[in-house]
Amino acid sequence: MAKFRPLGVVPLGDCAAYVEFSRTLDLEVNSMVQRLAVALRSRGLPWLRDVVPALGGVALHFDPAFEGNVLELAAELAAQCLKKGLPAAKEFESEIELPVCYEAEFAPDMDEVSKKTGLAAGEVVKTHAAAEYRVLMIGFAPGHAYLGGLDARLAVPRRATPRAQVPAGSVAIANEQTVVYPYAISGGWNVIGRTPLAVFDAGRPRPSLFAPGDRVRFRAISGKEFARMAEQQ
């Protein structure tokens, strides 16, 4: 792990610190950061309240009663984990197949995406469902996954005006990523489908369907299948 060295450690206020490894999206760093977060959590330190892997680094949130130097301690903890060796990605990553209905009713931005990409709706669906994605980060809202691996032909900018409310389960694209909205929330990504599965349910043993590092595939389903699966949720 000697090859990974932080660019620096920056304070996130006086109770948290961000150990930053990259300022651009680097998939190798992203995967390392996820493994580092798992290693940090497994230390079970009572004064380390949360560990949040972001795209290019990891944030350590300390208990406000902790009085030490958060920058030094964050750097030290990260260095210790890197030196000891990180858990292999396969020890915690899952494979997830997500059923998605791409029919017009659930795809308000499909026409716009077709226009911008020059691909017919059917081609957009086929291209979106053919790729394998990786969860790069959970953020924005509980269970909200940023998935990398979108086919470059589907790279479209975010909508100029975000929608006030995007329905739960909406599958959307922007730039070179795809997201699944865990619940009804405002959002600016281009919605091209919807999953009937609950992406986040605080009552489940594992509330978030997605975790950083998971590999994800989308499976196109009909409106009828959507209705049946939604009922079972």
Partner: protein
């Protein structure tokens, strides 16, 4: 939002500081207590309600009417034993956007019944009985701790955020010189601040990074957002500043329209401020515990 006022209210009824209480924002409820209940109201000052910052034993059938906030934005009503909702993800808080936690994941409405512990009435009597210096149904003292700022603009200490240097010189100055208003579209996730528009030197998008309580981020509009208790864990906007943890409870007491300004401080100063606040809170909590005979 104001953990100091919450801790105080809980301590005054003999609870652990993190027990579930009612957070009352700007407009208060009318509550009826079926059984004898030991309560305490702390934080913002509201029309009606109760004598603040002290334990009060309410008789069965008491109707408590809490009106509008006069000073501050948030009051905390704690009851002996805490409000007995099931913890979700290790917390009894309500998370409105995700609709989980608290009572069915939503704001309270007329007719709701709040679950208290089965032994809440006995606990209330027992704890009130243990108090020294009682006077009828309350006590002869009140806790001296106050998070509601008594003048504006309210001073918030802040350290430079990771992207501070990426803002143009005028914006760097304006951030610490301007008086900012809390905008109406503020909530438990973040307070939107109205004032001069802030601009970055280069328009490059930054890679989404982490956020924390008190992070001040600046979206493309140039109007900053101070992240509060229900903030997201990561965000794609540049972070211009990080508000000192010690000052966040006072920020939580600002309603839309209230004013604040920022004073630049070092990380060491922010840590010292946090230590000072903790020492003051601990001392008050200890003196309250002494009144309960501990």
């Amino acid at each position: 939002m104001d953990p100091v006022a919450l801790a105080l209210a809980n301590a005054l009824v003999g609870n652990p500081v993190h027990a579930a209480a009612l957070e009352i924002t700007i407009l208060g409820p009318e509550l009826r207590f079926e059984h004898v209940t030991l309560v305490a109201l702390c934080g913002a000052e509201f029309h009606g309600g109760l004598p603040r910052n002290r334990p009060v034993l309410l008789a069965p059938g008491t109707r408590l009417s809490i009106g509008r906030a006069i000073r501050g934005a948030r009051a905390y009503l704690a009851v002996a034993g805490g409000i007995d909702v099931a913890p979700v993800l290790g917390s009894r808080s309500t998370f409105l956007p995700g609709r989980f936690g608290g009572l069915e994941g939503r704001a309270l409405r007329r007719g709701d019944v709040l679950p208290l512990r089965e032994d809440a009435a006995a606990l209330s009597q027992e704890r009130f009985g243990a108090l020294k210096n009682t006077d009828g149904r309350s006590v002869r003292w009140s806790a001296p701790l106050q998070t509601v700022p008594d003048r504006e603009p309210v001073l918030m200490h802040a350290i430079e955020g990771q992207h501070f240097a990426g803002f143009d010189a005028a914006s760097q100055r304006a951030f610490f010189d301007a008086v900012w208003y809390i905008a109406p579209e503020s909530n438990r996730m973040g307070f939107r601040l109205a004032g001069p528009a802030l601009a970055r030197r280069d328009g490059d998008e930054i890679l989404s990074g982490p956020t924390a309580l008190g992070t001040v981020q600046v979206p493309a509009s140039g109007a900053p957002i101070a992240l509060m208790a229900d903030h997201q864990t990561t965000g794609g906007y540049p972070r211009i500043a990080e508000i000192a943890y010690a000052d966040v409870p006072r920020l939580a007491q600002l309603a839309p329209g209230a004013t604040l300004h920022f004073a630049k401080c070092s990380l060491d100063t922010a840590v010292e401020l946090r230590r000072d606040v903790k020492a003051r809170v601990d001392a008050v909590l200890q003196s309250i515990a002494w009144e309960f005979g501990h």
